[in-house]
């Protein structure tokens, strides 16, 4: 009767006849047998041969079975080496001692070959089960280490991408829990060429790696397009289209995108599915709430996606507070959530906005007891002109092939005026001129200003005086969106002429529009106080360019950059 699987079996029995009989029974079942006459021999044989199963007489000279069992179990470690006690001990106390010493089963004399065979098979099953459990445990441990390592690597790679921006700028304070990335939270910040600060706080649905994979392409679009000077609407459209294309249907990304323009003294906001952000006065008072007005990114197709933004005034020293739902969903011992009400109380109690960030964190700590690992909190202070520190541009080519004698005419007409913004393309084209590269930021600002003046005041006929106060600001942008929507004709024409000069060159820009023009003398002579929100553009252009003047009743702007 050979066993299904041959085992190595140690038989320890002090009676010579019993030992002979037992060894023969076990051998006949197909196993390999080692024999010992006492406990000490049994332990020595165990060390030498590492048998898979042990049959142990309880009462033996030199070292009894109880002690031998303890030593063998200790030597076996985590592996299960089943021990079957051979005993004619009938009294309960003796049987209990066998179990406490590490015995797994008993076998009474007289030995029955059938019962012993069945017991050995049962013990072998247990032994294999334990081996499988150990193997799987080790495998899980290895997988776990592997996973953690992959997460570390992924985080390191992601940090390189994410921190290529300006999150470290002195006007930003943020907290992102170390593993927030793997909960789908995303925080990005970068300067546009004209020195605006762009900030994105995002939150992908889901947890773990799937929630993190969308972050890379999103960051790439954000940084790439911001650096090239694309507007909010174009960046949003591109991010939405990219996520819609790559994410599975049940995944999307809540996002709050901001553009802080020091030059215009305003912040442009788009919130799709993120918790309310807050616009705070210098004294900490809540000026307005940046609520979600859109569906998250990655849900709607391009035709139905809404890229309309809100523009709000934001003066130096005023602040924005952004947060992820991890803040609001922080739970206390009774599983109650922190919630918007408690956050609003912290905001209302605040007397010094510089301390607000800490006060929110303290309130969460007091409330929650156990910190969550997916909290993202961001405090942005509107910077002043002196503080502006745009990241330096890095160019890889030498500039020798720089073309210096050319001209270009570019006209945007009718329907194209609604969506298309030519400024980033034109700025990129002008980058070919080596001598102008140091002034890319200025070029971008001037072109943006001239283009939006031509479009808004020229083609759309909007009065800049509207932007005198906060309400006017909102009305102005509502009216802008309305008029753009019904626009059928009109044009903005941009002409470049580039000429070489002695050691450098000259760029002449003309921006002409189909509008009614404006009284150049009156606008330029307005007191600067009145220009606080409205007429800033023209002075900015005059300050940044080498020269600037207007002709044709304000319909055509002439600007020069000389290097």
């Amino acid at each position: 009767m050979p066993a299904e699987q041959a085992l190595t079996v140690l038989v320890a029995e002090d009676g010579a006849a019993d030992r002979l009989l037992l060894a023969q029974i076990v051998r006949r079942q197909g196993h390999q047998v080692f024999t010992a006459e006492n406990g000490e021999q049994a332990v020595a044989l165990f060390i030498e041969r590492r048998p898979q199963l042990v049959l142990l007489d309880a009462l033996m000279p030199v070292m009894d079975g109880f002690e031998a069992a303890r030593q063998i179990k200790a030597l076996a470690g985590e592996a299960l080496v089943p021990i079957i006690f051979l005993t004619s001990l009938n009294e309960e106390e003796g049987l209990v001692r066998c179990l406490e010493a590490g015995g797994d089963d008993f076998m009474a004399k007289p030995y029955s070959a059938v019962i012993l065979g069945a017991k050995i098979r049962a013990m072998d099953r247990l032994r294999r089960l334990q081996a499988t459990v150990l193997e799987q445990r080790d495998q899980i441990t290895r997988h776990h280490h592997h996973l953690l390592n992959e997460q570390r690597v992924a985080k390191a790679v992601f940090d390189k991408v994410a921190h290529s921006g300006c999150l470290a700028a002195p006007n930003i304070r943020y907290l992102q829990s170390p593993y927030a990335l793997f909960n789908g939270d995303l925080m990005l910040a970068a300067f546009t060429p004209s020195g605006d600060m762009r900030v994105l706080l995002g939150d992908f649905t889901g947890h773990g790696l799937p929630a993190a994979v969308g972050a890379m392409p999103l960051a790439e679009v954000f940084y790439g397009m911001t650096a090239k000077g694309y507007g909010m609407a174009q960046v949003l459209r591109e991010m939405n289209a990219k996520l819609k294309r790559i994410l599975p249907v049940d995944m999307f990304c809540c996002a709050l995108l901001l553009n802080l323009s020091m030059q215009r003294g305003s912040v442009e906001v788009w919130n799709g599915g993120m918790p309310d952000g807050y616009r705070l006065a210098v004294d900490g008072q809540v000026l307005s709430v940046l609520s979600s007005r859109h569906l998250p990114l990655g849900i709607l197709d391009a035709e139905r996606f809404d890229d309309s933004t809100e523009v709000l005034p934001l003066a130096p020293g005023e602040r924005l507070l952004l947060l992820s739902d991890g803040v609001l969903d922080t739970a206390d011992d009774q599983e109650r959530l922190f919630g918007v009400q408690r956050l609003r109380r912290v905001l209302a109690d605040n007397r010094d906005p510089v301390r607000l960030f800490d006060e929110v964190m303290q309130a969460l700590e007091r409330f929650g007891g156990r910190p969550r690992d997916d909290i993202s909190l961001c405090d942005i202070r509107m910077f002043s002109a002196e503080e502006r520190v745009p990241a330096p541009m890095i160019y890889s080519d030498s500039g020798r092939s720089s073309p210096l004698d050319w001209s270009l005419g570019f006209e945007v007409r009718g329907q194209s005026l609604k969506r298309f913004n030519p400024v980033p393309y034109l700025v990129q084209l002008l980058q070919e001129i080596h001598g102008l590269r140091a002034r890319t930021g200025n070029l971008h600002s001037v072109l943006s200003e001239l283009y939006s003046n031509a479009l808004e005041h020229g083609v759309l006929g909007l009065d800049s005086q509207l932007k005198r106060d906060v309400q006017g600001f909102a009305n102005y942008y509502q009216e802008r969106a309305r008029r753009l929507g019904v626009l059928t004709d009109g044009y903005v024409r941009i002409d470049f002429q580039v000429e070489p000069q002695a050691d450098g060159g000259r760029l002449m820009i003309e921006v002409r529009d189909s509008g009614a023009g404006f009284d150049v003398q009156r606008v330029l002579s307005r007191p600067s106080l009145e220009q606080e929100l409205s007429g800033r553009g023209l002075n900015l252009v005059r300050r940044l360019a080498s020269s600037a003047h207007w002709s044709d009743g304000g319909r055509c702007a002439h600007v020069e950059f000389v290097w």
Binding site: D14, G15, A16, A17, D18, L20, L21, Q24, I25, R28, L59, S88, K109, P110, Y111, S112, A113
Partner: protein, 115 residues
């Protein structure tokens, strides 16, 4: 009567299991038992006596010597509850019972050697 002394069901199992080793088993049992008996007689404490009786009980039962195994068990239990007055009588009965078992197994040896 061998039936009082030997369980023949155990015996036939033994023959089957041991195959060619049966003779060696019988011989080993007889030698081992001589040693157990002298241990019983030489025991100087209840504990020594109990241990020897326990071992003898085990090997007797394995060999189908039911009577001998029962007497050894009785001795093992008595040894656990001193005083041991009259214990010699029990040991003598074990001697006598072993004589019967010995006779039977010597018969087995001769039968097989002749066979």
């Amino acid at each position: 009567m061998t039936d009082m002394h030997i369980d023949h069901r155990v015996l036939s199992d033994l023959r089957e299991v041991m195959e060619d080793g049966y003779l060696l088993l019988v011989q080993t049992f007889l030698e081992d038992s001589e040693r157990r008996l002298s241990q019983l007689h030489a025991a100087r404490s209840a504990e020594e006596l109990g241990l020897a009786a326990h071992s003898f009980k085990g090997s007797s039962s394995n060999m189908g010597a039911v009577g001998l195994a029962n007497l050894c068990q009785e001795l093992e239990e008595r040894a656990r509850r001193p005083p041991l007055y009259g214990i010699e009588d029990l040991i003598n009965r074990i001697d006598q019972e072993f004589f019967e078992v010995q006779t039977f197994y010597r018969g087995e040896q001769q039968r097989i050697s002749a066979g």
